[in-house]
Symmetry: D3
């Protein structure tokens, strides 16, 4: 039952790279509000923004052996996506593993568990989105799998999918949909630029987007505050 899938099909490299120009919130909207990992995953330092292709690692609780196995399957432009088979807040990943995967061009880690050595990871500029920070170590006793589809923080992630992460969280874009979602993200961004300019000039979204009539139809009532309450 424990497998390592080699030579996975990854989303197109230039497409995956291009996603880093868009925020996670924008991509999530552009994708029809799907693919967002649960907000318990938080960056270990502010300001990181990466995109890449997923190498997935299914790990037992408190056992990081399969991350060591996964390193060999990583290549330039990948993002490691790690999910334990049941809840764990152990620190699966630290500076040594970061050195190892950074040497292979991995851009970051997304893990629904803990990571450690966050001061060193910050200095190295290796970003991690994790559900907690924990110095707890792990053992190397039980197998798991690499590059199988898995659920990470509530979302299905398949190997080779595009993963984008920034200060708002993490979104996964299925490999097959990457081109379409990238275009939709661009379109959304352009539309937002127009709204932004009008808002900055003091216009109201009620008018920019013509919401007043629908609000009235739903029954919204405007009143003035009474003389005294």
């Amino acid at each position: 039952m424990s497998v390592v899938v080699r030579n996975i099909r990854r989303a197109d490299r230039s497409t995956a790279d291009a996603f880093a120009a868009f925020g996670v919130a924008t991509i999530h909207e552009a994708q029809g509000r799907t693919g967002l990992l649960e907000p318990r995953l938080r960056p270990i330092y502010p300001g990181a923004h990466v995109s890449g292709t997923a190498v997935t690692v299914s790990v037992p609780p408190g056992d990081n052996w399969m991350i060591h196995v996964a390193v060999e399957q990583c290549r330039d432009g990948d993002i490691l996506v790690v999910a334990p088979t049941s809840f764990s807040d152990a620190g699966y990943f630290g500076e040594l593993l970061a050195v190892a995967v950074q040497a292979r061009g991995v851009r970051g880690l997304v893990i629904d568990a803990g990571c450690r050595d966050v001061a060193e990871l910050t200095r190295m500029g290796f970003p991690v989105w994790s559900s907690c920070v924990s110095a707890t170590g792990t053992v190397k006793e039980t197998l798991g799998s690499v590059n199988v589809p898995l659920v990470c923080a509530g979302q299905l992630v398949r190997p080779g999918d595009v993963v984008v992460a920034d200060d708002d969280g993490v979104v996964v874009v299925p490999r097959a949909a990457a081109g379409r979602v990238l275009a939709a993200s661009r379109a959304r961004e352009e539309k937002e630029a127009v709204s932004r300019a009008r808002y900055r000039a003091g216009e109201l979204s009620l008018d920019v987007h013509g919401m007043r009539e629908r609000l009235a139809r739903k029954g919204l009532t405007y009143i003035d505050q009474e003389a005294d309450d």
Copy 2:
């Protein structure tokens, strides 16, 4: 049942502004330990410290329509206070809405739910105190209310009340009590300055505040560690 209350009575502007000189912890004490919102509300970046008058927004879970409605009711010196009618960790508020309310002089957002675009909000210097960060978007389908009294993170907030927020959290001061609480905050600060100086000089609070006798009366016993344990 869905109303927008216009022309609310706000706390006196200079009073509201003056609160920014005092920490949330000081104001909370000065107000008799009332008005503090639950500590799950955290700032999206460190170092912000604002005071202002509340514009309140009661929103359905996962629906930010009423925040758009509320923008028009905001004016210079306000702070938006948003509470969902049941738990939500959706990202109700992002950079576009921040541009819109900043254009009207709003100083910050307090929300018992999620916000997004935190990198942009940080760059803009628009502070938010929220219960989480989440890229999840919201819909615009169901009405709520603007400028009604509401409970946000465990505290009753009325439109026009003073809201103060810093790295320690958020406190609300009722409009009618603002002058009195401001004076009490000043008095408290002055008293603390004296204690600070004495502590810095190495004096003990046990002596500065004469606690020793009351401690002894309650039964506190001093012993020396035994030779070995």
Copy 3:
């Protein structure tokens, strides 16, 4: 039942100081994976790294009187370790107490409850590891104890034990074991330096640590992705 133990035996000063050169994760491993406080304790600002000897304070929920009592028992090189007898998220400790203990050479605070004035504490460079930030004040009505063994965030801490804290969390080293654990930490660090160099050069931990045979024996299988899924 309320006691203050004076003149506790502390771990050797130079040993306690020397721990600051090692990360919490390293020390935890070097100590056989024991002594790590639960990861809910987080630093109020990034980058702090301290070691010292524990002065322990057992406090009632929402009552910080015994911290005032504890100040007198602190001396240069100590770290305050505070645990409430049942859950509390109150803000037990703020800038005034920090001034008082910093004046006595205390290096930081570890508390399984809330702290406040985090902006000032950051400016002062007084690090705190706490389970939350909260402006809620506390009362001074009920006794507790100082320098008794207590459980803080899941770990037994005895007065005089070594406490080390960094961005990864907090670890306690029993006084009697300090010398041995310090040596083991050094040894571990040296071993890791070798791994780090080899990883940086692109070697895999599978090879550096000879894991391949054991993985195969456990049944790990390598397959190539099929033509299409």
Copy 4:
């Protein structure tokens, strides 16, 4: 600042009593989806269903002194509503206090904190809705207030308001609205009886409530599963 308000105006007794015929969910809907306490309040045993008038108690964390004070203010048909001023999971209320309030005709307790002696309370048939069960005792050192408006589990409760609690949770109905909400609850129940009968006969809500056209207009699409996936 610590007061006990005597001789509060209570909602009409027969109205308050009549609410016990309706479920909390029904009343919450009938009241325009307001007044529901957060779902962390759970009954200590299944099957209880009570309504009554609120006697409110604002308590410090870990201190139940004011509940003793409140007993004297209770009378037949009341429900005690207790909220700590900051989070507490202490066991504020046990069998002895239940004997005391049951002797005065109190019908139950709603508390945003812990209770204890749940085996005895179950045997006595004294229902409690609490945020946890905890044997932790409390002290009697610090004052609070009785019969002041307070926020309990996210809702404003005023003394004399109607409180209804069942296996689904707890709802508060403002004293002034009690008659109107009771009538609306009855109307809602009658309407639901019609739906229930039709559903039981196999009719679909899509048809009973004519939802199909609106669903289609919003864009809902029906497809058949493909030959194989």
Copy 5:
């Protein structure tokens, strides 16, 4: 993007039914420790144990419209599996919907959100596994989808998969694997019967399963307690 998939392929009926003879823990083990939903899903009353085929419903937060749509797609032997697209503790499902789906032969509900009317559901014998109980109602404003693959409480569930639920939780068995997993569950149960008989007779698992040598090899040491500690 909102679809209702009709005429889904369901797991074989007799196979799905046969799973009810096995506990969730047994099936989870028999399936190689996969498919278990997160333990936050708890039964609303003890003692229920059902198996059936999944009809899946993806719902917006706080909006139960699609459950009404899903009723029509249910048939005898199904289990409803509902997951919101982001966190919600609203009460999506109550007695009226239970009447409607029970009339179509649905055996239970699995929902990663709240349900209500639990007293009535208990009386009806309609079991629900939910992440909370909440009287909060929902709106009918936003579309979702029926019978699409979704992630519920951390597991991928596809329409037609077998779902089994008991007091221990909920497990999903992929449609294609149902026969194989059923056989493995039977085999496991038989093996456990042998162990049970031997344990009951006082034999130790250390001997029954021959663990002593492997424990010794790993380094387990037996010592006797010293004269005094």
Copy 6:
């Protein structure tokens, strides 16, 4: 580092047995409010009430091997106390292990992690206090220790200590203190019986315990509700 300590000194059997006559809340008070495990430990069924001597098991996250090892160390009148070295919600213990330990006279299990087969455990009358119910299995790969002092749910438990558990939670009484705490529990119970009788007769604790003067001295003020609010 992995040891099994045999032939531990247990608290006197008749003393340990006698504790079952007293509630956990009473014992906790009688012991000076110490020894109570955190309230996240809940019984899997209502009504159980046991006392016994602790056999302690320190287990790795997700690995129950050491519980199998511990069975042999159990004897009539013991209670198993299990704590993982870092957070785990796995189901460490089920019906088979219960058969094994029940055959040796073990009276219950206290575990700061998950248990499973709760329907069977209920039928067997084998009580468990756990932090969750979970069907997740565990592996048998990593050693831990049996009969070492450990921290379980926030309290230090030593092998041979008395453990008492009922619907309110779990308390530990150090072996050396058992006789004294038992006597204090009896005394407390007798005192409470007097209060109970007086409360039942309608007397107020304010009078029974003479609290009125101290309340007045602290500043409690009684007012009557104003004509209208």
